[in-house]
C-alpha cells in the first residue's frame, strides 16, 4: 500500500478544484492534486500517485539524467566487453 505509481495527467477539469484525470497504463482515473498546490501542472506532466493523491510531480530532466548515467555505465561495460573480445593475450 505504500507503493506509488507514475501516471500522466490527461486533463485538469476547470470546474473541479484539486482534481486531475490521469492515465496509468491505459487506465484513466481522477486523482487529488491538492498536495501539489502551487506547482504548475498541465496535461502531459507525470505525477507519482499514492492512495488517490498525487504526491510529487516527476521531474523529466532528472529522469533523463539518471538514464544517461545508466546508459553510460552500460556503454563502459559494452566497451570493456568489446575490448576483451578483441584482445588476444597469448601468454
Amino acid at each position: 500500500m505504500c507503493l506509488g505509481i507514475p501516471g500522466e495527467i490527461v486533463e485538469i477539469p476547470p470546474d473541479q478544484t484539486d482534481l486531475a484525470r490521469v492515465d496509468v497504463s491505459g487506465v484513466r482515473r481522477a486523482v487529488n492534486i491538492g498536495l501539489l498546490d502551487g506547482q504548475p501542472l498541465r496535461p502531459g506532466d507525470w505525477v507519482l500517485i499514492h492512495v488517490g493523491f498525487a504526491l510529487s510531480k516527476i521531474d523529466e530532466a532528472e529522469a533523463r539524467a539518471a538514464l544517461e548515467f545508466l546508459e553510460g555505465i552500460g556503454q563502459a561495460y559494452e566497451d570493456e566487453l568489446a575490448a576483451l573480445r578483441d584482445s588476444s593475450i597469448e601468454r
Binding site: C2, W46, A66, F69
Partner: protein, 374 residues
C-alpha cells in the same frame, strides 16, 4: 518516457552488477538495510540478489506499515468496527492482519461492516452517502500516506461532514531507523533510503545518520535499476571514505520534500509521546495522533477503545525479521504454519512484508525451507 520500463533493462542491470562487483573490497562483507518494504518487494520480485556479489547482504528493514501495527491496535479497531452504527474502512492490506481476536476478515464474517477502500477519499465518499452511520477510516502508513489522511480530514471539515473519523495509526520512519541504529543486534554498512516517504519529508531528516552514525544513505526509487544503482552509490561512498545522504530518486524526490503535505499533516496531527511497534517495542515520538482541534474526526476520542497490549504469538518471529536480525526463511513457522492465506505474523500479510515477498516470488520454496529448518 513512462518512468517504469526504462528502469527495468536487463543489460543495464548486468552492467551495474559488474560495476558493483568491482567496487567491493576483497574479503569484506557488506550489509545494507533497505528500510522500505516497497524495496523488499522489488528485490524479490526481480531477484536482484542474483545481481549482487555474495559478500553483499541486503537486510530488510521495518518500513512496512502493515507489519509494524501491534496486535492490540487491531483489536481496538475491531472493537470500533463491531458497533452497529459504524462502517469501518481500511486499505486491503489490513484485512488479514491478525489481532489478538482475529482479523478484519474474521470480524466481517461475524457481521461487522468493514469495507476495503483504495483511498481515504473513498471512505469520505461513503460517509457522504451514508449520513446515518459513523464511517471510520483505519489510517495506517508512514509519512507517505499521512498527508492523504490529513487532506481528507481537512476536506471533511471544509464540507462539514460530521460522520467521518480517523483511527490514526500513522507512524514516522526516522525514530524507527534510530532504534535500529542504536540496537546492538545489527551492524550495518549503509542504508537504501525510503523513496516515497522522502517525497514528503525530503532528504535532510536523514543527515544525522550520515553525520552522527557515519553510515551512508541513498534515497532510492523502486525499479530494479534504481535499487542496483543505489547499492552502487553506497559502495562508491564507502570506497571513497564518505558517508553522505544522496538522492538516487531525484526524478520524484525533491531534496526539501513536499512542504504543502508536511503542512497539512502538521495542521491535523501531532506526535504521540510514544507508540508501540510490532517487534521494535515502544518508540518515543514515532507516531501521529489527531490534534485536539480535530477531535470531532478522531475515532480514538469518539469511541471507547480497550487499548490493551497483546503479546505476539510465541511462534511468530516478525520482530526479528522487522529488525533485520532474521531472514524470513529462518523463522520457524515460515511457509509451514505461516503463509499468506493463513498468516500468523504481519510480515506474511502485506505484499511489502519481507516474508510475503520471499514466499510469493518463490525465492525459497517450501521444500528448501523445510530442509533449511530441519
Amino acid at each position: 518516457m513512462r518512468f517504469v520500463d526504462e528502469y527495468r533493462d536487463a543489460d543495464k542491470a548486468r552492467a551495474l552488477s559488474a560495476r558493483i562487483a568491482s567496487l567491493c573490497e576483497p574479503g569484506r562483507a557488506y550489509k545494507f538495510m533497505e528500510v522500505c518494504g516497497g524495496h523488499t518487494h522489488t528485490i524479490y520480485k526481480h531477484g536482484l540478489e542474483d545481481y549482487l556479489p555474495e559478500t553483499i547482504t541486503l537486510v530488510h528493514g521495518p518500513g512496512c506499515p502493515v507489519c509494524v501495527i501491534p496486535m492490540g491496535r487491531v483489536d481496538d479497531a475491531i472493537h470500533i468496527a463491531e458497533r452497529p452504527d459504524v462502517i469501518m474502512t481500511s486499505f486491503g492490506d489490513m484485512m488479514r492482519v491478525p489481532g489478538g481476536r482475529g482479523s478484519f476478515f474474521d470480524s466481517t464474517a461475524q457481521g461487522a461492516d468493514i469495507r476495503m477502500v483504495y483511498s481515504p477519499l473513498d471512505a469520505l465518499k461513503i460517509a457522504r452517502r451514508e449520513p446515518d452511520r459513523q464511517v471510520v477510516f483505519m489510517a495506517i502508513g508512514f509519512e507517505t500516506t499521512a498527508p492523504s489522511t490529513a487532506m481528507t480530514v481537512l476536506r471533511a471539515a471544509a464540507e462539514g461532514v460530521r460522520n467521518f473519523s480517523v483511527f490514526c495509526n500513522h507512524v514516522t520512519i526516522i525514530p524507527a531507523i534510530k532504534a535500529i541504529l542504536d540496537s546492538p543486534d545489527l551492524r550495518l554498512d549503509g542504508f537504501i533510503g525510503p523513496g516515497h516517504v522522502s517525497t514528503i519529508i525530503g532528504c535532510r531528516p536523514y543527515e544525522f545518520i550520515a553525520r552522527g552514525y557515519g553510515k551512508p544513505l541513498v534515497v532510492a526509487g523502486f525499479e530494479p535499476l534504481d535499487i542496483l544503482q543505489s547499492v552502487y552509490m553506497l559502495l562508491l561512498q564507502l570506497a571513497e571514505g564518505r558517508s553522505e545522504v544522496e538522492n538516487q530518486y531525484a526524478r520524484v524526490v525533491p531534496w526539501a520534500g513536499n512542504i504543502r503535505a508536511l503542512r497539512a499533516v502538521n495542521e491535523v496531527m501531532e506526535l504521540r509521546p510514544y507508540f508501540e511497534w510490532r517487534g521494535l517495542g515502544f518508540i518515543s515520538h514515532s507516531a501521529l495522533r489527531m490534534r485536539e482541534k480535530y477531535a470531532a474526526y478522531d475515532a480514538e476520542r469518539l469511541f471507547d477503545i480497550p487499548g490493551n497490549r497483546v503479546a505476539d504469538p510465541k511462534a511468530c518471529q516478525c520482530g526479528e525479521v522487522l529488525k533485520g536480525v532474521l531472514k524470513p526463511w529462518e523463522c520457524k513457522v515460515f511457509g509451514t504454519a505461516c503463509t499468506p492465506e493463513t498468516p500468523i505474523g504481519t510480515c506474511m500479510v502485506s505484499s511489502e512484508g519481507a516474508c510475503a515477498a520471499y514466499y510469493n516470488f518463490g525465492r525459497f520454496s517450501r521444500q528448501r525451507v523445510r530442509e533449511a529448518t530441519r
